[in-house]
């Protein structure tokens, strides 16, 4: 046969809980207990409130820039909950705070980062999280390498790296996916497709119909999931984790979600997107959906909500206090951590806070008279 099919594949979209908070019984059975779902809903409320506080801090000049997570919490919490705290590793971008918090990252570190303080990246030992990645797309290769290290050492660990739809346009996404699949490392590529990369909509970012199908280029398992459906996200991440642990290599997960806020506090999304679009997606808010579910099951009511809101308030004040209460970093900080052992010239710069030689070595200023004759 002179023309024959040599490859075919397809992408499935997974949803467990619909927008009314109703669960597909077949898929949803035994996935998460009501206690777990309640716990995750409560976390979602707390983290949403913290997100809002960060925004107001920035607006009042107490934080420099902040990228809101609003609307994407199901993707972060559903995936984060499917990974083993203290065992698996999370390699984030900057819009999945909830996942990091679940894994033990002190939230004040995120605040410190956005307050312009490197100490926000000093992740405590035992917290298996890497810092926020500012340059888009670069962290996926680090995740790949880390997963590779675990494979080489035969440690039972999985790495999950997060990135946006825009990030899939960078060459590093491609090289990371290709390395990860070629060496079958235990890495999950979790894309939060929130439809926008600053002002560029997904359709102008790529000509492919889905992000998930990009995985075909690497022979990766590729799946699309309703990113505002916490249960579905949990389900596909858990499956990806088990595949990774079984040595079956990476999965790319496209979580279809939406950035309800501006790109960051430096952005004004009204310049480039319709309020109707935002309003339509606001209806799909993962927090509303989850509450509907809990209410439908008789597990939730206004009184409970009030308790959580109060707790969230206290939680937020504590984080603000912690992040604002810390003294300004010492100026030495900018020299002390560049190398394990400080080079001589850097030490001179640190000690004098000068780069000019007369400033570094004031005694040189007097040299002239004594030595000029030698010349």
């Amino acid at each position: 046969m002179p023309i024959r099919k040599v490859y075919e594949n397809s992408i499935e979209f997974v949803q467990v809980m619909d927008e009314q908070g109703v669960i597909d019984e077949r898929l949803g059975k035994d996935l998460l207990s009501d206690e777990q779902i309640t716990f995750l809903y409560e976390k979602m409320v707390e983290y949403r409130r913290l997100d809002e506080i960060a925004f107001t801090l920035q607006r009042s000049g107490r934080m420099y820039t902040y990228p809101q997570n609003k609307g994407q919490e199901a993707a972060a919490l559903g995936s984060g909950f499917a990974l083993r705290k203290g065992v698996d590793w999370l390699v984030p971008c900057y819009r999945e705070n909830g996942a990091l918090f679940l894994h033990g990252l002190p939230p004040e570190l995120i605040f410190l980062h956005w307050m312009g303080d490197e100490r926000g990246n000093a992740i405590p030992a035992g917290v298996n999280v890497t810092p926020i990645a500012i340059p888009i797309g670069t962290q996926m290769l680090h995740a790949t390498g880390m997963a590779w290290a675990f494979k080489q050492r035969k440690e039972d660990r999985v790495v999950c790296t997060y990135f946006g739809d825009g990030a899939t346009s960078e060459g590093d996404f491609h090289e990371a996916m290709n390395f990860a699949t070629t060496f079958k490392v235990p890495c999950i590529f979790f894309c939060q497709n929130n439809q926008w990369a600053i002002s560029v909509p997904r359709e102008q970012q790529m000509a492919s119909e889905t992000v998930a199908q990009k995985g075909f280029a690497y022979g990766a398992r590729s799946i699309q999931v309703d990113g505002n459906d916490l249960l579905a996200v949990y389900k596909v991440t858990l499956e990806a984790r088990e595949r990774a642990r079984a040595g079956e290599g990476p999965t790319i997960i496209e979580a279809v979600t939406y950035r309800l806020g501006d790109h960051t506090t430096a952005d004004d999304a009204r310049r480039y997107r319709d309020s109707e679009e935002v309003a339509a997606w606001a209806q799909k808010d993962p927090m509303i959906r989850l509450r509907k579910y809990l209410e439908g099951k008789g597990l939730w009511n206004d009184a409970k909500q009030q308790v959580v809101e109060d707790r969230a308030k206290a939680f937020c004040s504590e984080i603000v206090k912690k992040s604002e209460g810390i003294a300004k970093p010492d100026v030495n900080d900018m020299f002390d951590y560049l190398y394990a052992e400080m080079p001589e010239e850097l030490r001179r710069q640190k000690e004098t806070l000068r780069t000019h030689s007369l400033g570094q070595d004031p005694s040189q200023a007097g040299l002239r008279s004594s030595a000029a004759s030698a010349r």
Binding site: Y64, H113, G116, V200, D267, Y272, P329, F335, L346, H356
Partner: protein, 324 residues
């Protein structure tokens, strides 16, 4: 004549040249509908359409590499890299292809593009939004590197850059974007590439700088004793260099301080010091001094102003070199 900020002057230059030459296309992340994250390209897409002011995917090598192709085929692309810290992924295409094609092909293929890059620190932005990598592009042969700091110069030099037959990097000091205004003609004019500007004349010491640091130097000069006569040179173009202006000045003053934001080691300040060594040796009354960013990574916002040279540091160096 209207008063313009740096942002307005650059926008006005782009507008002027897009109207004049239909081969000019602007492309980059968020430059179109959103008008750029600093609003430098504001209004241009509306005026010239989405085929000439183009929102690209998030892909710096893609932006640079396809701009090279556009230029090879006769367009006049003006790619924007959103922040200098994101030039990394575009590095290979820029220094190994844009810069090399003319030489590689003995002139058969040329790459007339102008890369616009918001550049430098002082605006309290996150990591990779405050760096000063200009020396890298001076060391790699084949590029021209422009660093104007005033609205008037920026407009005139951008017009020169776009019309230049070779690839130009046009660094725009973010810190100056909206902090300074001056009169800028609406119409067409150019400021030549490769010519420094003597901002203040003096006889005791020469201060050489470029970019946002020129304003810090001016502030430093304000605080110096009246009887100290300082010559301040704004290089404007760091490659190709205006040897005459620098050497004449230092031959006259016998003393020099170089001020830059970038880290000191292997930098443009190093080159200038070496040049003064070679060209003005017998006239030097004191060792040329470098007042630079420290040899460490540009800190996050809380410490950035302690990293960057400021008026006191500059003034101190000037006084010490004069007292030597």
């Amino acid at each position: 004549m209207p008063q313009m900020t740096l942002v307005q002057a650059i926008n006005n230059a782009l507008d002027t040249e897009m109207a004049r030459d239909e081969r000019v296309v602007c492309l980059g992340e968020d430059v179109g509908l959103n008008g750029g994250v600093f609003r430098v390209t504001e209004g241009l897409q509306k005026k010239y359409g989405p085929d000439r002011v183009i929102d690209t995917p998030l892909s710096e090598s893609g932006i640079m590499g396809s701009s090279i192709g556009l230029a090879m085929a006769g367009q006049r692309p003006i790619p924007e890299i959103q922040f200098e810290g994101f030039m990394g992924p575009a590095y290979d295409q820029l220094v190994n292809h844009a810069a090399r094609f003319r030489n590689r092909t003995r002139g058969a293929i040329t790459v007339p593009l102008t890369v616009r890059v918001p550049w430098g620190g002082g605006i309290h932005a996150p990591e990779f939004h405050s760096d000063s990598p200009e020396a890298i592009y001076v060391h790699n042969p084949g590029l021209k590197v422009l660093c104007p700091c005033t609205p008037y110069d920026a407009k005139g030099m951008l017009l020169s850059a776009i019309r230049d037959p070779d690839p130009v990097i046009f660094f725009e000091p973010k810190r100056v974007y909206r902090s300074f205004r001056e009169e800028v003609p609406e119409g067409d004019y150019t400021v030549p590439i490769g010519k420094a500007k003597v901002v203040a004349e003096g006889t005791d010491v020469t201060v050489i700088s470029w970019g946002a640091m020129v304003f810090q130097c001016l502030e430093a000069l304000d605080g110096l004793p009246e009887d100290l006569s300082v010559e301040l040179i704004d290089l404007r173009t760091i490659h190709p260099l205006d040897f005459d202006t620098i050497c004449e000045s230092v031959t006259k003053t016998g003393r020099a301080v170089i001020v830059q934001e970038a880290p000191k080691t292997c930098s443009m300040a190093s080159e200038l010091s070496a040049i003064l060594m070679e060209k003005c040796f017998l006239h030097l009354q004191a060792p040329v001094q470098r007042v630079c960013g420290f040899d460490t990574v540009m800190p996050y916002a809380k410490l950035e102003l302690q990293y960057l040279p400021d008026a006191p540091r500059i003034a101190e160096a000037i006084k010490q070199v004069v007292a030597y």
